[in-house]
Amino acid sequence: MLNFVLLIFIYIGIYAIASLGLNLIVGYTGLLSLCQAGFLAIGAYTTAVLMTTCHMGFWESMIISGFIASLFGILIGIPTLRLKGDYLAIATLGFGEIVKNIILNWDSVTKGPMGINGIPGPSIFGTTLSSMDKPEWIAIIWIGVALTYYFIRRIVRSRVGRALEAIREDEIAASSMGINTAKYKIGAFTTGAFLAGIAGSLFAAFNQSVAPLTFDFMMSIMILCMAVLGGLGNSFATIIGTIIIVLASELPRLLGISHIIPPQLNQILFGFILVFMMIYRPQGIIGRIKLNYAKILKDEILDLEK
């Protein structure tokens, strides 16, 4: 039981890093990306290949994984210069599928549908961690979450963050204020992809195995739900959203009723979360309602007319 709770903490931490990265892309910059799972897959597989085939240590592999994922972030970020909203969503969805397809078919490196097993754990202070050392893992992963949180907070409370939010609100207005929208959009994508790569790397090292079908479209949707549920454009809310979604998807197993509940129920829940949040509370459970100047003005005029 305690073991299971610890496991949930580990997953919350890993997903929190990925969803914080996605929140930077979707929440702050307003670009809908549906390939966070693809970036996770790239990170996880890079770590897996580097550690098993090239016998590198975990920490170097993790950093390299992050950079490889962000390289792909640039690659997918470049089309975003010309794409808006819906088109971008589809292009990123397509990118995620391409990543999955290539991993499934590139047998010589990724071992195809079998995945890569026997990834060694990271060594820290001379001891090698296995999946059993959960408290140590929690420490490592949540230090990562804290660093990510601090890093994103520094970004969004700076000139860069204000530029990102300006792009989200109105791209044309932002560019007419002298913001280089191309640079910032690619930057947001690259950073989000880097964080997903790190999360994927941790995922691979903790599970000591990777399989291609883990990183499907539903994983991207789950990460998106975390950001939407908590509140887009709010890092703290994203972590809360992550906790709720991971708990909700693991709760049946925790209570030992997973055999009664059909496996689809979870995903139906994600679907309802997306629809209901968009209709009734688009700012998320924690987010604030934005000041609507048009509405305030209208109320003032109505008051005057009385």
Partner: protein
């Protein structure tokens, strides 16, 4: 014409296969493009609406299917099943629009898109829960043994797909271009407030658009089900490909969707042969086409480039 060393009889074969695939993509793409033309958003749940309609048609056909009653009976219930599928999809499409998209018409563009993704996940998983994840065989209503034409083979089902596709697309084109309702539809897609001022019931037109698009998707769904069975996620990949077809042709443009579908079908069929890639990477062609077209000509083949005004 022998550019890539494909023997001429195989060339014809690939052409037939590509056109059949393309006709299916076109039928589905029309739904995306019509909705986009009017509401400026992508109905992500379109593929799942197709799946739901196909299930309705499948169950109708399955319960009445009885080979002992003769060929005419079987073809009769197949046509009835096709109409049931169309009606079920149309109804579902309109319902989804009322519940999940209508409250978000004035919201930022991200909102209806996320809502549509939510609806598509709900539908796919509900289907998996109630109908099971096992794929079900949709029996051919006729003898589907292939015929030989000039060294290549064509199945009656392929002929039916091409014929039905042609009829549906011509019908739609005539409806949109010539009828009063079609005119109202075009007016709504150009400018909603002004169309409303001219006495057009905009909500009715939007519902009608969803109904027609969904019904066409259901037709495509039943036609693919004959070849590839019925299963809960059958709409997802078909929907994505059709969306790519709509983008290739120029989204919002009805002729563009037809052309884009055919083009994508041919590109996929010939791409596999010419590039010599494994069948497993076939989907990659479509997505690469999408990313390329978005980079080179984001408004599609048939649309003029329009610069956005503030």
């Amino acid at each position: 014409m022998n550019l890539f060393n494909i023997p001429s009889n195989e060339l014809l074969q690939h052409l037939i296969n590509g056109l059949t695939l393309g006709a299916i993509y076109s039928l589905i793409a029309l739904g995306y493009t019509m909705v986009y033309g009017i509401l400026k958003f992508i109905n992500f749940a379109h593929g799942e609406i197709l799946m739901a309609g196909t299930y309705a048609g499948y169950y109708f056909y399955f319960f009445l299917y009885d080979p002992s009653k003769g060929a005419a009976y079987t073809i009769g219930i197949f046509i009835a099943a096709l109409f049931i599928a169309m009606i079920a999809s149309a109804f579902l499409g309109v319902l989804i629009e009322k519940i999940a998209y209508k409250p978000l018409r004035k919201a930022p563009r991200l909102a209806p898109l996320l809502s549509a993704i939510g609806v598509s996940i709900i539908l796919a998983n509900l289907a998996a829960m109630f109908f099971g994840t096992k794929s079900k065989k949709f029996e051919y209503p006729f003898d589907n043994s292939s015929m030989q034409i000039g060294g290549s083979s064509i199945t009656p089902n392929q002929i039916m797909i091409l014929a039905v596709g042609l009829i549906m697309m011509t019908g739609l084109k005539l409806f949109v271009d010539r009828s009063r309702l079609g005119k109202a539809m075009r007016a709504t897609s150009q400018n909603q407030p002004v169309a409303a001022l001219m006495g057009i019931n905009v909500n009715l037109i939007i519902s009608m658009t969803f109904a027609i698009g969904s019904a066409l998707a259901a037709v495509a769904g039943v036609l693919i089900a004959l070849e590839y069975k019925v299963y809960p996620t059958m709409g997802t990949m078909a929907g994505l490909k059709a969306f790519i077809a709509a983008v290739v042709g120029g989204i919002g443009n009805i002729s563009g969707a037809m052309l884009g579908g055919i083009l994508l079908g041919l590109l996929e069929t010939f791409g596999v042969v010419i590039l010599g890639i494994p069948q497993g990477l076939k989907d990659t062609i479509a997505f690469s086409v999408l990313i390329l077209i978005l980079l080179l000509r984001p408004s599609g083949i048939l649309m003029k480039n329009i610069r956005e005004k503030v």
